[in-house]
Amino acid sequence: MATFKSISSIFLVFLTFLNVAISLYEDQIGKFDWKQSYIGNIKFGSFDSVKRVVVATDENVIASLHLKNGQIAWRQILESPHGNQIELLHVDKEVITVSGGESGWYVRGWELNLGTILWEWTLYSDKSLKGYWVISKDQLIHLVPAVGSHLEITTYEVRTGRNNGKTLRISAPWITDLSKCVTAGIYWTCISGESSSAELHYIDLSSQLDKVYNLSVEKLIGNAPGKVTLRSLQYAEPDILLIRNGVGRYVRLQPELPKVFTYGLSPNVAVAPNGDQTLLIQLESSSENPENIQIHSVELEEGKENRIETDYVNKTGISHIITALCRGSACRVLFSAQDHSISLLQLPAGKVAWTREEALSHIVATEFLELPVSELDASIEHEFDSVSGDVFGTLYHRLTSQARQLSVLLTGQQSTSNTGLVRDEFGLHKLIIVATNVGKLFAIDTITGNVVWSRFFNNVESFSLLNKHGMLLFVQRTARYSPLIPQCVLLMKDKITGNGIMYTFDPITGESLQLERLSYQINQVMLLPYEDDEHLKGLLILSGDSQVHLYPSSSKSILLKHASTTFLYTANPKQGTLHGLSLAYSTPENIKAVPTWSLNLGQAELVAVGIRPINERVHSQGRVLADRSVLYKYVNPNLLAIATIKDDSIHKHVLNIYLVDGVTGLIVYSTVHKRADKPVHLVHSENWLVYSYYNERFRRIELGAIELYEGSVQSNSTAFSSHAVSQLPHAEAQAYIFPGTPLAMQATITERGITNKHILVGLSNGAVTEIPWAFLEPRGNQGILNPEEGYIPYIPELPLPSEATINYNQSLARIRGLQVAPARLESTCLVLVHGLDVYYTRVTPSKTFDLLKEDFDHWLIAIVLIGLTVASYVTKRLASRKALKQAWK
């Protein structure tokens, strides 16, 4: 018997392994997934030919874009943008970049067409000083100014990094403000002094002559009141723009006396080389009519002016022209807008060829939204709206609604199919509402990946949540309540005042409902779990000074009804404290949050907080053990999972994991990992917690799993109360080696929680892999001594099969977050992975048990059925004939 049991368990293990190996089929590529690649906000750009443009972005990425459609020809992702930035992009026969910062500078040469590296070298400089980089012929000149004293110039051979060992020091007491210094061609130039006495200083870096030219600005552009600023034109010729009172003058630097052109230019001007000619292109958009842009071009030498007007759909206003190129009369202008979108303008047609929404390269909040039902379905639903019990009334209602359905069926179907935003049977078609770091809000269709609508907010920024950027996005009313429009709310931070901004909108159409600039800073926000008469969930905001604000104010009465059971928590990562607040002491006049508990985590840094998804359902109440008894899960909806890292003299870093009850502040479980360091990622779901950390002792990433059980008796099967604690839950814990570097983790979620749970892990190598929870589930001693069905023996190193990669060969760069949402199909979970790229797919942790298989052969079955019917008729006829013949024999 025992052997049989072991054999069966092995067999089950084998089965589960097989189960994991189930992945995508090759013909499913792109069937329900899409990927969009982004590069970030563009800092530098340069046309390499008539076909492509090379750009460098603030995400520390260089890329080559096709001019035809704006798609990425190649993209190279450099070091992390935190502390590393591209400072120089030079496009010639090869692409030269200088990037880096804190840990030194990387000088790299790239092949123009394919993006392969040609050469690379590094150099170190003092971190605190801002440097300037200039390329002149085959020399890379590094210039480090010291304000008020001198200038250090070092020249390197650009391909090898060889220098003559000398650093030239030039005395430069005139450097007062580095924001007034720019590079222009091979010159480095500064403005010193105020308006009237302002002087222009410039140095020719190519000749290595330590000669500084000084000139008064007055001499160049005349005397007028107003501050003079400098702008580099990022152009090979040593040209600058001197701007005073919003009017720019084009100045070509030369030894001795610079050449000044007399045109008054807008500060937003780009130089487009056109053979011998040089064209100056300016884009102007009036504030009254932002959809219209004027292109104003001036020929530098001859002064021929040309104006073209064009329509530009993006209303956010042009930020600046990145680069421009002309061939004859045809010009290409690459410009970026305030919302980080980049567009290519074709001249002389004046047409915007394409636009890339680079705001999506940094998503800070996501929410999946169910679409409204079609008009026909909605009219059917209306049929049951009436509450009157009158027989004739209901009959009348029924007849009218059916007449309406008929009319909708005959006429109205077109209007819904036009927009296409209609709920499907399986709930797979949804809308993803996405808020980006720059302050642009998007609605993306899950089926196509297209942007349905977008809206940009000026001067907003995201909150910083545990070293991450984040905005707060809530669904106040879903699309379920048909005549009422769905409603979402987005909370942002004002860039100038730091106060909160609340934007309420209809997520389906993008229609703005309310934009409110709050007069306080936001400390904590909670979406109330109670709906009012109009099915709207109220929003509770705790301001910086611990005042409670409610939106809309009509939700006050509902909150007061439930005030005694409403609790809040706040976390202060800097001080390492957690506070619990209760609304029980609120009065109708004054809703207040009174602190009920506080938890001091010591001198530790709070690195991660995990809560259970609000919409998660736990289907099974317990686990059936081998002896057929049930071990009941400890499912506490108020549980917070907290991870802290503390510096330690002996163990370097110590990781603490706490499970805290958010209502009472009771620490339900805590554990310590010595010599464990960041990055820490937490996933808290059902009655378990999975976290990842770096084990400093063995230099590997490990995953820890904790599972909580009430025991063999369930304390209260109908309702959970945090106050009714008779005994602490029984915890089981286990750790595993993880052969990869996680960047984000999330557990799958399904409609009813029947489907198995998988943990989705976004890895540094660009893969998003799924690990079944059964692999991580800690079984403890009991499991080993008395294995239950489906028991997987402990394997220290988790397998990461390539088949478990949900994004197959579509590697995703710099994954920041994973968002999951249930479909209406129980087996299916929708996944959005965001980072530099955006990827959407769906996963089925227990396979599609509620759908016919995709490769289900309808044709074969139909043919076999028809064939059998035909065959039976034919044989019947034959048999009867034969029987008759034999009968007459």
Partner: protein
């Protein structure tokens, strides 16, 4: 055990000391940055992607330091301080085995196989490292293809086809005169053992009274000699029982009907029905052997 713990403790202590020493040296030497060199090999020619160099990246400790592959496959990762690192080659289509590269405080390099479980086990790999692809990464499951053999050996198909074969081919075999003879022989054999059903029935129907009398006689006999009656257990012992045997006449007709239905299902004859008696007699004959 105590000793072990002590040794363990000592080891840990020594390790800490070592680490502190390295930290100290890092601080003293500002330029304590080293380069890791090596070469990445492309997959073998027929599978070499056109532009694999630009799609290949090297990550150290999950992307803390980066390396890019030159056209000849070589790479240099700059700016790495001393320590122990995991070097990975990333390519969307091909898998490479990660290795561990260690740089000691004096800048000496060592490469070894990555072993997460036995971290102290050193399996050296030559440095500068040579990264060779393990193979094409398998992301997809292969869809089952429709094959004739699969279809034929399907149990359902087998269940359907075998009886069909038996029905279709056996009658054909009967047409062969030799086998027919054989079959007849077998049939005659069976005839011996079991009288024809029709005869039995007619006998029963016709000769009820005779047999009743006989049995009555035997009953009398049995009353005389009880020992014999016990021995003749296969013979019907009492009139009541015989009557019971004979009473269910309609049942027997039912049986005939049942066999008839069987014939229909086998032969499929229901269109033009020959005279009823014909079928019955033929059928009963069939039953006979």
């Amino acid at each position: 055990m105590k000793w072990l713990i002590l040794v363990n403790f000592f080891l840990v202590f020594a390790e800490i000391l070592c680490l502190e020493v390295t930290n100290g040296e890092e601080e003293s030497e500002t330029q304590g940055r080293y380069t890791i060199e090596g070469k990445v090999y492309a997959p073998d020619p027929p599978f070499t992607p056109a532009n694999w160099q630009s799609d290949t990246r090297l990550h150290i400790n999950g992307g803390k330091y980066l390396g890019f592959v030159k056209e000849d496959g070589s790479f240099i990762i700059h700016n790495v301080p001393s320590g122990s690192y995991i070097l990975e080659v990333l390519h969307p289509e091909f898998t490479y085995e990660p290795i561990r590269v260690e740089i000691n405080s004096r800048g000496k390099m060592r490469a070894r196989k990555l072993n997460h479980i036995q971290t102290n086990l050193v399996a050296p790999v030559p440095y500068p490292v040579k990264m060779k692809p393990l193979g094409k990464t398998k992301y997809f499951q292969i869809r089952e293809q429709w094959r004739l053999t699969d279809f034929l050996f399907n149990p359902m198909v087998l269940m359907m086809v075998l009886p069909l074969v038996l029905i279709m081919i056996l009658p054909k075999m009967l047409n062969d005169p030799e086998t027919k003879k054989e079959m007849e022989q077998i049939g005659s054999l069976t005839k011996f053992e079991m009288p024809e059903m029709s005869d039995l029935v007619t006998n029963f129907l016709a000769g009820t009274s005779q047999s009743q009398l006989q049995t009555k006689k035997s009953a009398k006999k049995s009353s005389d000699d009880s020992d014999f009656s016990a021995l003749d257990s296969d013979k019907i012992s009492s009139t009541e029982e015989i009557e019971q045997m004979h009473l269910p006449q309609p049942e027997e007709r039912n049986i005939k009907k049942g066999t008839f239905i069987l014939v229909i299902s086998r032969g499929g004859a229901c269109g033009e029905q020959p005279p009823d008696a014909f079928v019955l007699s033929r059928m009963l004959k069939f039953d006979g052997f």
